[in-house]
Symmetry: C2
Subunit: 332 residues, 2 copies
Amino acid sequence: MLTSEQDFLNMIDRHFPVRADGVLLGRGDDCAILDVLGPLCVSTDLFVEGAHFRRSYFTPADIGHKALAAAASDLAAMGAAPVACALSLVLPDDIDDAFLDELLAGMAALSRRLGLPLCGGDLSRGPALILDLAVFGRPGPAGALLRRGTLRPGDELVLVGDAGLARAGLYALEESGRDALERFPAATAAHLRPEPRLNEGQLLAGLPGVRALMDVSDGLARDIPRLLGLGTNLSQGGGKALGADLTIDESLLHPEALLFFTARAQTLGQSPVEAFVLGGEDYALLAGVDPSGLALVLAAMPSARHLGTVSAVPGLRVGGEAFTRAGFDHFG
Amino acid sequence: MLTSEQDFLNMIDRHFPVRADGVLLGRGDDCAILDVLGPLCVSTDLFVEGAHFRRSYFTPADIGHKALAAAASDLAAMGAAPVACALSLVLPDDIDDAFLDELLAGMAALSRRLGLPLCGGDLSRGPALILDLAVFGRPGPAGALLRRGTLRPGDELVLVGDAGLARAGLYALEESGRDALERFPAATAAHLRPEPRLNEGQLLAGLPGVRALMDVSDGLARDIPRLLGLGTNLSQGGGKALGADLTIDESLLHPEALLFFTARAQTLGQSPVEAFVLGGEDYALLAGVDPSGLALVLAAMPSARHLGTVSAVPGLRVGGEAFTRAGFDHFG
């Protein structure tokens, strides 16, 4: 059992290197100092027990991995290259040192692999296990950062990664706990161990015609309007009306998601295609591309799939029919 | 009652300006983009119900103020100028919209006054009210950032602000709730509404001879060793032994702290001078100054007081006697 913040800092130093490129001053002072010579992307992402994960089927290492992965996905969503991260950790009394050690090991392994060194953070006691990750990134080799709210009618929508698969994993884990890992290995991994698509994000930032990018964390139904800049500070068209027409069939679903949602279509009251559009915690990338650039984007990334087209007609349509079901809201 | 994250974002937009200098891209995208042309200071600071504050005597506006003030103090502690902040907020079900509105108003007022625009963040449901503030800063007019762990024997220790006063306020609030505000206005304000010393920090960064700086959040007894770089990644002297000799008498205490701790010396088992050294959540600045610079530092800031001298003899001594009581640990 940790008895002081110093014990925790010693544990952190065992897992995360003290020095890193791009970090002028690392952990141990009032602030870290990042070495920045241009625009810096910053984002924070909460990972809260009960709201985002359960200890019953997340291993400690899964928790450490996913908290950082979800935050890093926001850098991928700008086409940014990783610089550093900071961890604010709220620990309840029933977390022992072995649990914390595994959690940090899971986070440290991803941190190392992504090149996102831990530069600082904070620690407190509290009533639940809560991680808040701040992540920092800079423009990648192509020099560009990709925003939302910059699309025009006729632009094409491209998904890099799966939709609905992580949601199938969540449902399977809620039904069967970790027994679900055997039957739905890809779906449960998509929920427990999502992979932030930093390489694909930087690649997209360098391809001609890619005009907007985001990561799909709340499902396509909720996130496509956000990519279009609707209902946010990002609307650049002075209230211009935008919508999207999607063409989605079951071939777009991962086989495990198709299997899972076909079997439960009646119970859940949604078809597999609807489950794809509703999704949730996909951490796929959603790009808006000028029509002239579509072929190159699809050729450059085997996991990229064309979903549909931006329209001047407001609303979301799938196969020509209005899609009005609400997507995933972590908060609601 | 908020029913969606969008309701919250709308409320945020009512309190915090959408655009700000130094923020290329603000709220509403995957990341914010800061406009940075040199070193960037980053820090995160948790403010957790039960561990750091109670709703019984913190008003919602106090909570919003103090969460940001404590985080901003880490920028002051580097001598940094403010750039931006981000808020990750965990909301329990019993927080209503009026409470949240006041909390954000308290934070927004300080944000405006300090020049720390809100550039992003995250929101989740959870079992307690928890705020995690990420703050970003850059070198001030003098161009320097002041670290810890850079002091030598003979350097002078200077405190800018009060020590022990906020602790008196905490005890008074725990004893009497908000009735304590009338009897101990300065002490309770020091606990409920600390003022981050960003101006003094930047001033210190420009004065000759100021070699190290930190903010005193866990009390002098715990933080002086940290300023010396002991037990951290910051030791630059290869395990060199350092200590400090302090000369502290009751004239250094704020009159309210002196009154409070004199009356409770027996109950608490500590003298007023010990209470000054133990402190806790002071958010004063502690500087290490080359002896040649001491007079100028004291002349430049009326609230600066000379506390003592760095020594080659390990340990902390007050009036020649070893001071071995442990300071404040939020976590322990």
